[in-house]
């Protein structure tokens, strides 16, 4: 009986010790986790060298935002840190956090530019319209004596997404202008203009949060002049403002 009693005491003492250690660990773990080191860099990019490190609990003053990077100061030194890595305990006010969150959100307007296999420059702008995007595009080729251009207005829509990639389509109506000497919209090289219908499909590859690269397959059908049809492949950079 006595032996059993001692064993029970020993066990309860062990259990009590375990309980104390576990409780201590549970209390201390969050504070250890909070005290991560932040590595501030010389410039707003992950390839710039780390110039100093601070504790995540240190009070930091935000100075400047560039892209997704924030220039912070601890009163003695300054360095850049991605906004996503700025800890809650760094001393930023709620208004500042709201501002940063809002600033990082891509805007509604998109601008794009690139060139196509018809040796033409392409520029465009788009804005959301319900589930579509209203898009205006301008294309110009100029080889001195043979210049032509076209302008189109239409709708864009995302058809499918696969991981970060997506497939988009466009259909629009526009105007093609043929300058003297060009045989693009007129076989005889006359100065003329024609209505046209254009469809295109974009394979979209995101480069950055606001920037993507698009491989565009497009076809244009002239509705007047010599009713010619043109197909082209284009490489387009698209930026969300």
């Amino acid at each position: 009986m006595l032996v059993q009693g001692n064993l029970w005491c020993l066990l309860t003492r062990r259990v009590r010790q375990m309980l104390y250690i576990t409780t201590f660990c549970l209390i201390c773990a969050p504070s250890w986790a909070q005290q991560e080191q932040l590595y501030l860099r010389k410039g707003p990019g992950s390839a710039f060298p780390v110039i100093f490190e601070v504790s995540s609990t240190e009070q930091l003053q935000p100075l400047r935002l560039q892209g997704e990077w924030l220039l912070l100061s601890n009163g003695r030194r300054q360095g850049w840190l991605p906004v996503a890595q700025v800890p809650e305990s760094s001393g930023l006010s709620r208004a500042q956090r709201w501002y940063l969150k809002d600033a990082l959100r891509p805007g509604n307007w998109q601008v794009q530019g690139g060139w196509n296999s018809e040796t033409a420059l392409q520029l465009g702008v788009s804005y959301p319209l319900d589930e579509y995007r209203l898009a205006a595009r301008f294309t110009r080729a100029n080889a001195g004596e043979q210049a032509w251009q076209s302008a189109e207005l239409g709708l864009e829509q995302v058809f499918s997404r696969y991981a970060a990639w997506s497939l988009q389509g466009f259909a629009g109506l526009g105007l093609g202008i043929n300058e003297q000497g060009s045989r693009h919209w007129d076989e005889n090289g006359r100065e003329t203009s024609t209505a046209l219908f254009t469809v295109s499909g974009d394979v979209v590859w995101p480069l950055e949060k606001r920037l993507d690269l698009r491989l565009r397959l497009q076809a244009s059908q002239a509705l007047g002049a010599d009713q010619s049809a043109h197909t082209a492949v284009a490489l387009i950079w698209n930026l969300s403002l």
Partner: protein
Amino acid sequence: MKYLILCLLAVPLLVNAETTDIYQPRIKVAGLEKSENISRRYGSWGVGVAQQAQDNLSSRTALNFTGRWFAGERWYLLGSAQFAPFNQSEIRNSSGQVLLESGEQANVLAGGAGYAFLQGAASLSGRTSYPWQVAVEGLMGEQYTGDSSGRYTGLAFSWQLLGDDYWLATEWRVYQSDDSRLDKLNVNKGMQWGISFGSYF
């Protein structure tokens, strides 16, 4: 008794309402207060000079203006305007027809994208260092030469020293114009190197 009732009625008239009792809500405005303002940098602008070495023509100095819009950590969109003299003396063909008039001007309007593939920090004294980056830039636009014009394409490498408020860059660029008039004379290609200076917006 009558006077007492009159006094009691008059007392409230003598008591002034305290202004602190009036509800005066503080107007709150969304956004940052002045003390917590975070400035935002969207891009950079600059002005520079470049020395152009043109095929079959003497070299010349160009003045250029550039604008860069930061699209991310490494990518940026680029706009450029360049003004340069093109040739000094006129060029005629064998039958005496003037192909290139004397003193023509070559102006370029171009846009494109840049990608910073190297980034680092540079220091002369060991005390102060500046971030720098090397970027490759692709440019497309139009070159207006005299009375003709043609598509302009350029490929450039740019070393940019990024100060807090100002930046300094050196650039090396190869370019080509598809202007058929210049192409026939074989004066549509060249290269340039230059220096630019600017600030941010």
